[in-house]
Amino acid sequence: MKKLILVVLFVSLFLVAGLAKDRVTVWFAGTTESLMNEVESTMIPEFESENPDIELVVEFIPWGELSTKLTTSFAGGIGPDIFMHGQAAIAGFVENGLIMPIDGFLSSIEDVSDFGSAIDVGIYKGENYFIPVFGSGRLLAYRADFFEEAGLDPEQAPDTWEQLRYFASKTTERVNNQIKVAGLDIPVEGQNLQQVWTSFLIENNGSLFDDEFNPTFNSPEGVEALEFYVDLILKDKVASEYGLTAIGNLAPIAAGTTAITFIDVETMSAAKKYAPDIYDEIKLAFPPERYRRAGFYSFAGFMVSKSTKNLDSTIKALSYLTSKDSIVEINEAIGSLPPRQSASEAEFIASDPVLKKFVEGAKYAFGNPNVPFWVQARDILAKYLERAVKGVMEPKEALDEAAKEIIKLK
C-alpha cells in the first residue's frame, strides 16, 4: 500500500512538473484602457495558444510610477522578465546591471530591418538593449482661424525662426497688458522645456553631448538658441512667462489660448475627442528651420531583465510582442507612432492624416541621448534653462553653469 502511495505521489509530481508552465512577466508602461483591452483580450490568449507551455503575465504600470516600481521590484528580486521604458533610461539600466544586451536574440525577432534606424536608439556602448514599440513626436501646430483673423495666410505655417517670431507676434492678443491669446505656447519649466529647447538647439546645429558624454550644449549655437527662446518670452512677449495650462481636457491650442505650439500625437487625439470643431482648425507642420529642422521624437520599448529565469520563453514573448502584427495592434490601440516601417502603411495610419504627418515628421526626429546619467542631467539642464527663461540668469551663464554641474556626474 505504502509503495502504491509513493508511486502515485511520484507520478503526480512528474505530471505537475510536466504540466507546469514557464511564467514570463511583462510590464507595459501606461494604463490606456484600449491598450489594456487589446493586450488582455487578444494578444495574451493568442500568444498562449501558440505557446501552451508559457504563461504570459502582463501588468500595466502608470508612467509616473514606473521607475519607483522597477527599482523596488528589482531590489526585492521580483522584477519582470520584460519591461517597457523610454529609450532615455537604457544607459542607466545598463550601468546598473539591470538589463541584458539583445543582439544575440535579434534573429528571433521578426524582420528586424523593418525597424530601420529606430532599432539603433537602443544601442549603448556598441550593444543593443531595446526594441522600440511605440513612439511619440512633436510637430508644430497652429490655428488656421487665428492666422486668418491676424491677416496671415492660414495655409502658410511658420517655416523659419524669423517667421515663427513674426507669426507669433501677429497672433498675440493682449488685454490690459496681459496676454489673452499667446502667439506661441512654449514650455517654461521641466522636461518639456528641455525637449522643446533642444529642438531649437539642434536646428541651430548644436548638440547636447559629445561621444564621451561631455556637455556640448553651451556652445555658441546653444547660447544663440537659448537667447532666441528667451527673447520670445521676455523681449517679444509672444509667449507666457508662466506657460499656459490646459483647460480641462483641452490643451491651450484647442482651448484657444494660443495660436502656435509644439504638439504631440496624444494632445492631437485629445483635441479630436474633446473639441472636434476646433480640431479642424488645428494645422500641423514640420518644425521651423534654422540650419535644419528638428522635432523631438521618443520611443518606448521593451528591455529584457538580466535576472530573467526562463530566457527561451522570455525571448519567445519578446518576439511575439514586437512582431509586425503586435506593433500595429499596440499602436492602433493607443494612437501612437509605430517604429516599424511596414506599420506606417497600416490602415489606422493611412486613414489618419495627423498620424501620417507625424510619421513623415520622423525624418527630422531627434531623441534623448544615451547617457548613463541622463535623467539627472536632464533635470539639471531644465533647471538652468528655466532660470534663463525666467530672467534670473543670462542664457550663456545658465548653460555654462548647467554644463559645469552635469560634468560632475560623469
Binding site: 531590489a75 519649466e189 508662466y242 495650462t245 489660448t257 535623467v375 539627472q376 533635470d379 528655466e386
Partner: protein, 297 residues
Amino acid sequence: MLFRRLNKMQKRIALTAFLFIAPVLIYNIIFKIIPIFISLYLSFTDFSGFGIPNMIGFSNYTDLFGNGEFWNAVLRTMQFSVEVLPLNMLISLLLALLVNQSIKGIGIFRAIYYLPVITPMVAASMIWLWLYDPQIGVLNFILSLFSIPPVNFLRDPNTALHSIVAMRVWRGAGWNMLIYLAGLQGISKNLYEAASIDGARTFQRFTKITLPLLRPVHLYVLIVGLINTLQTFTEVYVMTNGGPLESTTTVGLLIYKTAFDYMKMGYASAMSFILGILIMVLSVTGFVWRKEKGVRA
C-alpha cells in the same frame, strides 16, 4: 530578571499583554526599526537600488555638505514648516473654540471641519490645483470680480510655496482642531465660573485660563506638526514637482528624486538621515523647552 520575580498570575498577565502588543511590535520592528538601520548602512554606500552596495565611508555626507540643491531644499522645507505651523495652530484653535459651544447640531460642523483630514492628499492636491488654475480657477474668478488680474499661484516663484502652505493649513486644521477640542474640554468649568465671579471678561478668561492651560496641547501640536511638515512630499510632488525655480523643492521630494529618478539610493539615504537628525534636534529642543517651562503633557 524582573519577570522571574512575578508570580504565576502576574506572569500570565504579562504574557497576555505582550501577545496583545506583539502584532504592532513585530510590524514596527520589520517595517520601521530594521529599515532605519538598513537605510543608515546604505547611507555609507554607493547603492543605486540594484546590485551590491559598495562601502564609500562618509563620501555621501561630505558631498551633501557642499550640495547647494540640498541646502536649498532644507531651507524651503523649514520655511514651509515655519509658515504652516503658526497658521495651522491659530486656525485650529479658533475652530476648536467655535465647535466647543453647546449648540444643537454642533457635531455636524465638527465633522465638516474634519473632512479635509480624511481626504487623500493626492485628491486634495488635485482640487487645489484646480482652485489655483490661472484661467479657470475659482480663486482667480473671485479676484476678477474685484478687477484684480489673474495670479499664477503655483507658477510664480513668489507665490508657489505660500499657495501650498494654504492648502496644507486647510487640510491639517481639522486634525489639530480635534486635539485642541479635547484640550478645551479638559479644562474645568469651575475655573471659568470663578474668573467670571471675579469680573474677568471673555478675552481675559481666554488669555489667563484657556491659553495657559492649553500649553501642553500647543506643544504637542507644534512638535507633531513639525515632524509632519518637515517630511512634506505628496502635495509638492503633485502640485509643483518642486518648481518654479526650485521654490517648492522640499527635502522629501529631493530624496524621492535622488533615490528613484537618479538611482542614487545611498546618497538619498544620507539625505534622509540628515533630515532625520534635523527633526530629532528640533523635537528634542521642543521637549527640553517644555521641561524648562514646566509644561506637563
